[in-house]
């Protein structure tokens, strides 16, 4: 949205030039228009284009399915109908007609009005303006996900990935350490919150009969998440204390060890289901709940990293000795960063457990670590935008390229390598997330140089 290049000496980005002077408010309105168009006319458009179904992930899925069919036909001799090739341009046209053109069109047409509205909102307290933007964003996502349950589950898991990635970015990005224990924090959060919800409110084979019967038991879900996050933070203490003295490779090894300890702990704890895990979590992690928690998480983490303490994190990253000399209490800083990061990872774990409604220790292994590290480094270190971009793009790509099967695992790592070559710190690294500026009016398409 506010992807315009701020660095001096560079002109407005191509995206920004096309979108014109539309502020975030205008773009959100445009996005809402897109999903409404899709909601009411998407089926007709896809029928008109002779697409077999309404494209579910912006047409990328349709394209990768055709490509997969083509690859199978070429290398394995599978049957392939040439007519399917026509789905390639059709998916592109669908994307253009339903998303791209309305977004640009509405964005440009409403730019004047949206700028005036944004200016009016900017005069109001920040929370009011933020609520308006978030409301628009939620409605857009709600309508978009309402069209298909597959979108809904993808969106839910993507939002959780955003929170999880951001929480790791505190440690790996802002503090500049290489921590490998994040899946363990997620596991602790997932288990403790499941223990709370399943143990108290659900009849379960592993954890026994429900202890409490309450008509509004879902209202306790925030408590479950906080407990999960708190337990993860408590676990982080174990890793934060040795991290006082270690840096770099050694911290990576200690934290990796912690990951394995936690995983085997849950594997061996028969009261928590052992390797079989816990199933039957209540279905409480709905889209509004996840959206609210993730937004809250982003807000708090953003405040944290832009606070004095957050700046101290950067100081510790750049030179620990110098930071210490400049009166930064490095111990306290490291400890806080670990605890905050682990807390939100635990909350993400609690959400994940209640979306999948099943957890087992194997889910929180090295594979999960690789996934989240890829999201952090792909999106960009030291940046809230970066975490959002990284988590969303890797999740969506992983989903949209699923039909390619094994080729997907060539394509995504290749993309990572390319990003690391051309942008070694990730796509949108080291950029502050200034809420006021992001939501403000955009009178001039090109601000100061």
């Amino acid at each position: 949205m506010t992807k315009e290049a701020i660095s001096p000496g560079r002109g407005p980005s191509a995206v920004r030039r096309i979108l014109g002077p539309a502020p975030l408010l205008g773009l959100l309105t445009g996005a809402l228009a897109c999903v409404l168009i899709e909601r009411f006319f998407g089926q007709q458009v896809s029928d008109l284009l002779h697409l077999p179904k309404m494209p579910v992930l912006f047409g990328i899925l349709t394209i990768s399915k055709v490509v997969a069919g083509l690859v199978n036909a070429l290398f394995k001799g599978a049957a392939f109908e040439g007519i399917e090739l026509l789905q390639l341009p059709a998916a592109g046209v669908y994307f253009a007609v339903v998303y791209l053109l309305p977004l640009i069109g509405v964005g440009r047409i409403t730019a004047g009005a949206a700028n005036r509205a944004a200016a009016a909102l900017a005069r109001m307290p920040l929370p009011a303006s933020a609520l308006v933007h978030l409301g628009l964003m939620y409605v857009t996502l709600h309508v978009w996900a309402g069209m298909s349950d597959y979108r809904l589950i993808t969106l839910n898991l993507t939002l959780i990935a955003v929170l999880f990635t951001l929480s790791l970015n505190i440690i790996n990005g802002y503090m500049g350490e290489f921590s490998c224990s994040h899946p363990a924090f997620m596991a602790i959060g997932a288990y403790i919150s499941s223990l709370f919800t399943v143990g108290l409110f659900v009849d379960d084979k592993v954890l026994g009969k429900a202890l409490v019967a309450m008509p509004m038991d879902y209202l306790t879900f925030p408590l479950a998440l906080i407990l999960g996050g708190g337990a993860a933070a408590a676990g982080a203490l174990i890793i934060a204390i040795p991290s006082f003295k270690t840096r770099g490779d050694y911290l990576a090894i200690i934290s990796l060890a912690f990951l394995f300890i936690v995983k085997s702990l849950f594997e061996n704890l028969q009261v928590l289901g052992g390797a079989r895990g816990i199933a039957g979590q209540p279905d409480w992690a709905t889209l509004p709940v996840i959206f609210a928690v993730v937004v809250l998480g982003i807000w708090i983490i953003n405040n944290f990293v832009t606070s004095t303490l957050g700046k101290a994190l950067n100081a510790v990253r750049d030179d620990e000795t110098a930071a210490e000399a400049m009166t930064v209490n490095t111990r306290r800083v490291k400890m806080t960063a670990f605890l905050v990061g682990a807390f939100w990872a635990g909350v993400a774990g609690g959400l994940l457990a209640h979306v999948l409604r099943y957890i087992n220790p194997a889910m929180f292994g090295v594979q999960k670590l690789a996934e989240v590290l890829a999201m952090v480094y792909f999106g960009g270190l030291n940046s809230v935008y970066g975490s959002i971009v990284g988590a969303v793009s890797i999740s969506l790509l992983g989903e949209a390229l699923r039909p390619l099967e094994i080729l997907k695992w060539i394509f995504i790592p290749l993309l990572l390598i390319l990003v690391m070559i051309y942008r070694p710190t990730g796509l949108v690294a080291f950029r502050d997330f200034d809420l006021r500026k992001a939501m403000g009016p955009r009178t001039d398409s090109r601000p100061k140089v």
Partner: protein
């Protein structure tokens, strides 16, 4: 820009002119396969897909109440991950609009996926999952294999009768759902026959371990008459060799997990003469089972493993149930429930892995076989054990 637009318009025009009229989709029965085509266990996905493709070649169309339907299978990669399996099955049910689902295979994916299938009221058969939670309280979820609480006693009884074993040792992977469950069921059953303490060594390791000498030393010292190790094909050769090197000369027996993958290629002569309980025996098979094995071997150049055989049977069950519905209405939601009811009502389905009838929980009642790995390295039928 203008050229691009022109090209687009031409292509759309072409698309409109060439594409066949919509609406032919009514005469197609779509089944979904959320299977691990990539990830840690691609062999499992490949076997499932092979079996399904072979089935499709043999049975391209199904007649339901006088109307012919073309079969169409949709494969979705679950990456051997729980999250991915949930997304894959949701996609199959809501986007691909499949009538029924075969898979996922392993319990770690089948348990969460079963929840999704049950929520969307879509019949699902997991051919290979042994976790009780997969089908528990889920009327729409079935499985194609017998459960560990049955296989454990089979192995315990066999060890007692065949080898006269009085003391047994168990070596299992504590971090993996299936071996751990089965090891415990074996222990229970064996101690029920021979009294508490009859399992003299109950040794564990963690997924990925390659050195078993410490556990073997304990097992040898315990004086066990038999070693039971319900591990996967990749670990069995290491365990068998470790046993030999540490001087354990008593029989070793295993479970159905031995039968998948390339056990003999990895194990060679060391595994000859050992026994394991499983779903079916490839060598010495007869009738439909033999026909299946011959065709599969001819098509893919290897003997079908139990995943392939169970997938074949699950698919057969699903098709049988669809035929038993007595006609599909075209309303996918109503049809899914009809298929579920028909599945639950199937009696004595003659599968290649034995006769199957579902319990109300959706688990089949079927016989297990004990196979012996013969001197040619084939899995030969030794004994059939029925519940």
């Amino acid at each position: 820009m203008r050229k691009g637009l022109l090209l687009m318009v031409t292509l759309i025009g072409l698309g409109l002119a060439l594409s066949p009229a919509a609406g032919a989709a009514n005469d197609v029965i779509r089944l979904g396969f959320p299977i691990p085509l990539t990830g840690e266990n691609p062999d499992v996905g490949a076997s499932s897909k092979n079996a399904a493709e072979m089935y499709l070649k043999q049975v391209p169309t199904v007649v339901v109440a006088g109307k012919t339907y073309a079969l169409k299978f949709v494969y979705e990669d679950n990456e051997f991950k729980a999250e991915s399996a949930v997304k894959a099955i949701t996609k199959l049910i809501t986007e691909e609009e499949v009538l029924g689902v075969i898979g996922p295979q392993a319990s770690a994916q089948a348990v969460p996926a079963g929840e999704v299938a049950n929520n969307y009221a879509t019949p699902m058969i997991s051919p290979w999952s042994t976790n009780p939670n997969t089908t528990l309280n889920r009327p729409y979820v079935f499985r194609g294999c017998f459960l560990d609480p049955f296989q454990g006693p089979v192995a315990a009884n066999f060890a007692t009768e065949e080898f006269g074993a009085k003391k047994a040792a168990v070596l299992y992977d504590i971090a993996s759902d299936y071996p751990k469950g089965l090891a415990e069921f074996f222990k229970q059953a064996f101690e029920k026959i021979h009294g508490p303490g009859a399992v003299v060594a109950f040794e564990s390791f963690t997924t990925g371990d390659k050195d078993f000498s410490a556990q073997m030393a304990n097992i040898v010292a315990s004086g066990a008459d038999i070693l039971f190790t319900p591990q996967y094909y990749s670990e069995v050769p290491l365990i068998v060799r470790a046993a030999k090197e540490n001087g354990f000369s008593k029989p070793i027996m295993g479970s159905d997990s031995w039968g998948s993958g390339d056990l003999m290629g990895l194990c060679g002569d060391d595994c000859k003469g050992l026994f394991f309980s499983t779903h079916y025996a490839a060598a010495g098979a007869q009738g439909a089972t033999k026909a299946f094995i011959d065709q599969y071997s001819a098509a893919y150049g290897k003997t079908p493993d139990d995943v392939a055989a169970l997938t074949w049977d699950s698919l057969g069950l699903m098709i049988q149930a669809i035929q038993n519905t007595g006609g599909l209405s075209g309303d996918i939601k109503a049809d899914r429930t009809k298929v579920k009811d028909a599945l639950a009502a199937i009696k004595d389905y003659p599968g290649i892995t034995g006769k199957m009838t579902f319990t109300p929980e959706g688990d089949p009642i079927k016989c297990a076989v004990v196979v012996k790995i013969n001197d040619q390295g084939q899995f030969a039928f030794h004994k059939s054990v029925c519940p």
